[in-house]
């Protein structure tokens, strides 16, 4: 017999070995050398967590009790792997493209990120899995108990209940520690766990080797070869056993569906899958594994029944047969096989459930309890890690408590199938979700609730036994006497096998509710979008490319960052990060810390919501939620408003700049005008002064005849007058231009004004004949008469100056129109050439023969200024034969308007 202490030592050693394996794998993966860890062999072996202790020990017991029916448990997954390969491939593709983290996440994402559905599936999974964890704890403690019994440990030569419970508790604690250590080490965005996967692959190999070893020993070592074994089988009750078709179909369906729906199976099948192509290997390798696992079940069962004393527990034949034969080493191997089966299942199941609990129950509630809109990248991480660790402990505790409550008895044995039937209620929503675009959230919810309820009523509650939860009366007459609601004869259909009955009705009503409600209701936009992405996943995603995660992702992030914050800055940021991580090159590992930092950096440029959505898209492949979109839209609107304001501002600045430029041009032009004006004045002043100086020099010199002296003195006199006139004109113009003219209002007939002007000019009628029409000039004007006279003088003088005709003539024509008086001065001189007409009213715009004009060219400029001050104007009338000016003014000037 084996010493109990040795067994404990071996177990501990094995556990330490698993720790090391897992630790080594994590280290390797962290260094980026995960290739070998992610081979199709490891993938296939990891699928073997389907084979739990229930399969390892229980299959023999099942065979011993119910014959070949145990095969259905293997046939279901085999058929799924072979026949439903398309569905698996689709699930894996969706899992990859949507970065699905669990089956609850799959359902939730598909139906518009529904928190309610995710939570529902999580609860369903916990209810369905907890008994199963309890079952594993039971099998481990039972197997330890077998050795304890044999080596006489414990009081009275065998284990008491307390010892069992203690062992179960220590096993549970150990498993919880292992799962927490390797399941929550890092929050890999893809929820992949290299260490755990390698550990369960090793365990898969151990359990297969153990079972095969026991089988070979039993057939060749105990029964004496293949022939005798077959003879033994023929002689046993198993040969008499006849399969019941409905139960076979039902069981194959349940196990196949469970293979897809169990949280732990989804974890290894989809979440931990690193390459779609591994599926095709697993497609034949996993059925082969199952075949090997089932190969010796019947021989062990038959030989066990034959060899072991009556009443021996067939569930422990795998262990007890070698023990009774004295094969201690083999027995320990078998123990390790069973231990492996139990622990690998518990670890993965706990991990998958903890992920679901934290992602679909804890985090959503936590987020809801916070003020909406807060950016939470850093905090969420802590919340997720802590909630996941606590969840692992709690789920393990639930399993332990369930084990204690159920008393660890035979009731547990039946719980496997009940769990299966509960978990597969997810199947319609899952299969419908990925194949039917019409499926929607309400339909999925209805199906889940109906299926879960029916399962609970027809299978889960009755499984505790008659009168345990449901009374015998209800079993026989239905609740409140409603006959058709009897738990095992729904709608009055009796005589079905209870399992088949429960599975049939729950699945039928579940699917029915799912389909009918989906048809009758409408999905929201996000559901439509997600529906299309899930159902047509092969159109939306790329082919069977392996997830060469970190490099590709880092590159994607770099490309995005470059677009947002600019090439140089982005590369600097990435390079600095890579240096910080001790890596050569410029692509760092995509760690959560780096993602957080990047998000903060990007949010400076595009806003927090946009940065979050963009990074989420790249790192977790999460669909952008409607909330995200709204936040992004808000942000964009703000940015646009800001840029509009900037644009408006810059338009304003443009206008201001233009105004300034125009003002500057005006000033420049004015300054040029001023220069030209000063230059003109200088010229106009210097010219007479030149004559004055020159002639006064000559006079001073003496020696000059009298005639000449008189003549030169005359010139000096004239030029002095010219200077005085010029200064007067300039001053006058300055006053007129400044607008501060003191008007001297008076009233007089226009004819008098003209008379005075003509007289003032002193024009000789022989030099210029002036024709007038006195009748028209009878109009009385009220204005500044002196100023008006000044204008008239100017015009008449001009006509006299330029009169080159043989008989020079000036016609003065007066007209009245609408309270205004117009006085035209038309001569028969050469007129003003058209090109000069526009500038004759400018200062110093003298016509060329200035000697004749004798003025400084200010006359018309002064006229125009005077008429402006009198509320009238003076214009040149072209094409009148000679020069023609029109003076027009109001007959009575409105002084108030000045």
């Amino acid at each position: 017999m084996i010493s109990f202490n040795l067994l404990i030592l071996v177990s501990l050693g094995y556990v330490v070995f698993l720790f090391l394996v897992a630790f080594w794998a994590e280290r390797r993966a962290a260094r980026g050398r995960s290739g070998w860890l992610r081979s199709s062999t490891i993938y296939t072996l990891s699928l073997s967590i389907y084979c739990t202790a229930w399969t390892f020990y229980g299959a023999v017991g099942y065979a011993a009790r119910s014959g070949l029916e145990f095969l259905t448990i293997y046939l279901g997954p085999t058929l799924v792997m072979i026949g439903w390969w398309w569905l698996l491939r689709k699930l894996v593709r969706i899992g990859r493209s949507q970065r699905v983290t669990s089956i609850a996440d799959l359902i939730s994402s598909r139906f518009g990120k529904s928190t309610a559905l995710g939570g529902m599936v999580t609860v369903l999974a916990i209810v369905g899995t907890t008994p199963y964890i309890a079952l594993q704890l039971q099998s481990v403690t039972q197997s330890i108990g077998v050795f304890a019994l044999g080596s006489g440990v414990g009081s009275g030569g065998g284990w008491q209940a307390g010892d069992f419970n203690g062992a179960a508790m220590w096993v549970a604690i150990g498993l919880a520690v292992f799962t927490i250590l390797f399941g929550t080490r890092n929050l890999d965005a893809n929820e992949r766990h290299h260490g755990i996967v390698l550990a369960i692959a090793v365990e898969a190999a151990v359990k297969l080797v153990a079972l095969l070893a026991v089988g070979i020993f039993v057939v060749w070592g105990v029964a004496g070869g293949l022939g005798p074994t077959l003879a033994l089988i023929d002689a046993s009750d198993l040969a008499q056993w006849r399969p019941e078709p409905s139960r076979w179909v039902g069981l194959i369906f349940v196990s196949g569906a469970a293979f897809l729906c169990l949280p732990r199976m989804f974890q290894v099948l989809v979440v931990e899958n690193s390459d779609e192509r591994h599926l095709s290997t697993a497609g034949w390798a996993f059925p082969a594994y199952l075949l090997l696992m089932s190969l010796f079940v019947v021989p062990i069962a038959v030989v066990g029944l034959d060899m072991m004393p009556a009443g021996a527990n067939p569930d422990l034949f795998v262990l007890t047969l070698p023990l009774t034969q004295g094969q201690n080493g083999l027995a320990i191997l078998a123990f390790l096989g069973g231990f492996s089966s139990a622990t690998s299942m518990v670890i993965v199941a706990t991990l998958a459930l903890a992920t679901m609990v934290s992602n679909h129950i804890v985090v959503p509630s936590w987020l809801n309890s916070r003020t909406p809109g807060a950016v939470v990248s850093g905090d969420v991480r802590d919340v997720v890690v802590i909630s996941r660790r606590v969840s692992i402990a709690v789920i393990m505790a639930l399993g332990y408590i369930y084990y204690r409550l159920s008393g660890g008895g035979a009731a547990l044995a039946a719980i496997g199938l009940v769990s299966f039937a509960g978990v597969i209620q997810v199947l319609p929503a899952m299969v419908g979700g990925v194949t039917w675009r019409g499926a929607n959230r309400l339909g999925a919810g209805a199906g889940l609730v109906v299926g879960f309820t029916v399962w609970g009523w027809t299978q889960f509650l009755p499984s505790f036994g008659v009168d345990a939860v449901i009374s015998r009366a209800v079993f026989e007459a239905g609740p409140w006497g409603i006959h058709w609601l009897r738990p095992q004869a729904l709608f009055g259909i009796e005589g079905m096998d209870p399992l088949v009955h429960a599975v049939f009705w729950s699945m039928f009503l579940n699917t029915g509710a799912f389909v009918v409600v989906s048809i009758l209701t409408f999905p929201n936009p996000l559901e439509r979008l997600q529906g299309a992405q899930f159902v047509n996943v092969f159109d939306y995603s790329t082919g069977a490319r392996a997830w060469s995660q970190s490099a590709a992702q880092a590159e994607d992030l770099l490309v995005m960052a470059q677009r947002i914050i600019g090439g140089a800055e982005a590369q600097q940021l990435f390079q600095a990060e890579a240096r910080g991580q001790g890596k050569a090159g410029f692509l760092p590992d995509v760690t959560p810390e780096f993602i957080g930092r990047l998000e903060r950096d990007l949010s400076g440029s595009v806003g927090a919501a946009t940065a979050h959505a963009m990074i989420g898209q790249l790192t977790e492949g999460q669909m952008v939620s409607v909330d995200d979109l709204i936040a992004v839209a808000d942000e964009t609107a703000q940015i646009m408003e800001y840029s509009n304001r900037l644009e408006a501002k810059s338009a304003e600045q443009d206008r201001t700049a233009r105004a300034l430029r125009e003002a500057n041009e005006k000033l420049t032009a004015l300054s040029i005008q001023k220069d030209a004006f000063l230059s003109q004045i200088s010229h106009e002043l210097r010219t007479p002064m030149t004559s004055i100086r020159s002639f006064s020099d000559i006079l001073r010199d003496g020696e000059i005849e009298d005639d000449a002296r008189k003549r030169f003195a005359g010139i000096i006199h004239d030029e002095t007058n010219r200077l005085t006139r010029l200064l007067d004109d300039l001053l006058d113009l300055g006053v007129l231009e400044s607008g501060q003219v003191q008007l001297n209002m008076g009233e007089s007939p226009l004819s008098d004004v003209l008379d005075r002007a003509i007289m003032a000019t002193g024009v000789d009628p022989s030099a210029l004949r002036i024709t007038r029409r006195p009748a028209n000039e009878a109009v009385t004007v009220q204005t500044d008469l002196e100023r008006l006279t000044q204008v008239f003088i100017n015009l008449i003088t001009n006509a006299a100056k330029y009169a080159t005709a043989a008989a020079p003539e000036l016609r003065i024509i007066v007209r009245q129109l609408d309270g205004r008086v117009m006085i035209d001065f038309v001569d028969n001189g050469p007129g003003i050439p058209p090109e000069s007409q526009s500038m004759i009213f400018e200062k110093f715009s003298r016509l060329e023969d200035e000697g004749k004009a004798g003025g400084a060219g200010l006359g018309l400029a002064i006229c125009r200024q005077i008429m402006g001050n009198l509320g009238g104007q003076v214009d040149y009338l072209p094409a009148q034969g000679g020069a023609a000016f029109r003076v027009s003014l109001p007959r009575r000037m409105d002084v108030a308007a000045q």
Binding site: R686, T687, T690, S694, E850
Partner: protein, 122 residues
């Protein structure tokens, strides 16, 4: 007969003053008061010296000076410019065009005589 000087100027009183001044000094003074036809007048009979006003009707003194210097026949004739616009840039303009002597109005008769004599001697 005396030496010939051509005075191109449009202000009658200034023409009279300069003519009187130079005639008394023994010069034969030809006068012309139109810018447009000034070059023709020069070519009719090359003077020993040209006195040129800037602001002339028809064509400015600068243009006439440019033409004078561009024509080999007239390029060497000394030109004395008289202008009422005595700003620095007018002087620079005249010098860049190759003026021989630049003088602003009003001028002293002594200065004019002295310059004319100096130019004629050179």
């Amino acid at each position: 007969m005396g030496r010939r000087v051509l005075l191109i100027e449009d202000e009658p009183n200034i023409i009279e003053a300069i003519s009187y001044l130079l005639s008394r000094d023994g010069w034969t003074v030809h006068t012309h008061s139109d810018g447009e036809t000034a070059m023709d007048k020069v070519r009719q009979g090359l003077p020993e010296l040209i006195i040129l006003d800037v602001m002339l009707p028809g064509r400015s003194g600068y243009d006439i000076l440019r033409d004078l210097r561009a024509d080999p026949a007239t390029a060497d004739v000394p030109v004395m410019m008289l202008t009422a616009r005595g700003q620095a840039r007018d002087r620079e303009m005249a010098q860049s065009l190759g003026v021989t002597q630049f003088m602003t109005k009003p001028f002293s008769n002594a200065d004019v005589l002295e310059s004319v004599r100096a130019l004629a001697a050179s």
